[in-house]
Symmetry: C3
Subunit: 140 residues, 3 copies
């Protein structure tokens, strides 16, 4: 059994920017040498989320519209009374979740054809982001 960890970094636009990070996660799996096991993708921070989606422009717009329904931009947020403007970003992060795990078989993430791993930046401004990818398993 081996454990390999790598932090990937990238820039985001904020405002429910939805980035396909599947390729970067798959690269870390390849580097790890693990052929059978578990990849955990973890968003460091409290205003982002990790989930899976069919990463095509229509679904992306639909998820952005749904996020507005789940936590409206013009809603009232106690967090914003402290001088912040990202109250809704925190709520959406807690809702979608910051951790995602996917099995690895024959060195590949076992995702569906139209199922991509996405980092969703719910914050209100462009940011530099860090995601920890951990691979645990066997090198068969």
């Amino acid at each position: 059994m081996a454990i390999y960890q790598e932090t990937i970094t990238f820039s985001t636009e904020g405002d429910t920017d939805i980035l396909d990070i599947t390729g970067q996660v798959a690269d870390v799996v390849k580097k790890s040498g693990v052929t059978k096991g578990l990849a955990t993708v973890f968003a460091v921070g409290s205003t982002a989320g990790i989930t899976t989606i069919e990463h095509e422009p229509g679904v992306i717009r639909d998820l952005q519209a749904a996020a507005e329904r789940w936590a409206p931009v013009r809603g009232q947020y106690s967090h914003n009374l402290r001088g912040e403007n990202n109250g809704r970003s925190h709520i959406l992060s807690s809702l979608i979740g910051t951790s995602f795990s996917v099995p690895i078989n024959a060195g590949e993430l076992i995702l569906g054809t139209w199922q991509q791993i996405v980092f969703v930046d719910f914050d209100t401004r462009p940011r530099s982001r860090r995601v920890m990818v951990q691979v645990m398993g066997e090198k068969v």
Copy 2:
């Protein structure tokens, strides 16, 4: 440490069909021989979700009704402009999540008495579905 993987398959009705798959997951754990570790249940695809619920008819109806509030059937979905009709199914999958992990102790999933693992098919038609169950841990 051992890793065991098995894909379970079943048929669903679609339209937020909620299937209790706890028994099938427990069977894979038993076959694996792992007595202490982690079971990861992964829905392959982008229109389904995995979560836990008390699997009784009332709660099932309540979750179906809540899904309608979170992403209405008659809502506007950009995905559907491509000739698809399952825009909401994608959104609900991203919301609920496609991966679920539960510890194993003494060869048993450590779920509560009224806590079942469910596969929720948010798609709009009956389908044949695949779920990967991975068991990682010790055979004490």
Copy 3:
């Protein structure tokens, strides 16, 4: 590779009580001796959730208000026709999820500075709660 499991217990107030359990999870990681690996935090039961949040009073109030939007207290719940009053608690548990996993590096949970692990009790009354913390990994 080692696996260490410990059940932590605490009392909650119910009604979307949001408890920061990061310190208790970190204590279990320390006891395990694991320096590199994965901590899984699992809520045993069907009316609670585990997620991450910036645990400050404003965001806590905002998540409580959001939960009311996602599953209103005065909504209609089929579960409640059985003499129960916690139909919404079940729905919110399935929505937020009962399992959360975070990588460990150099013996520390790799959380962000304003990112705490929280147990959310959606039930309608004070309860005694159990959370299983499992640590899997290497003692480097």
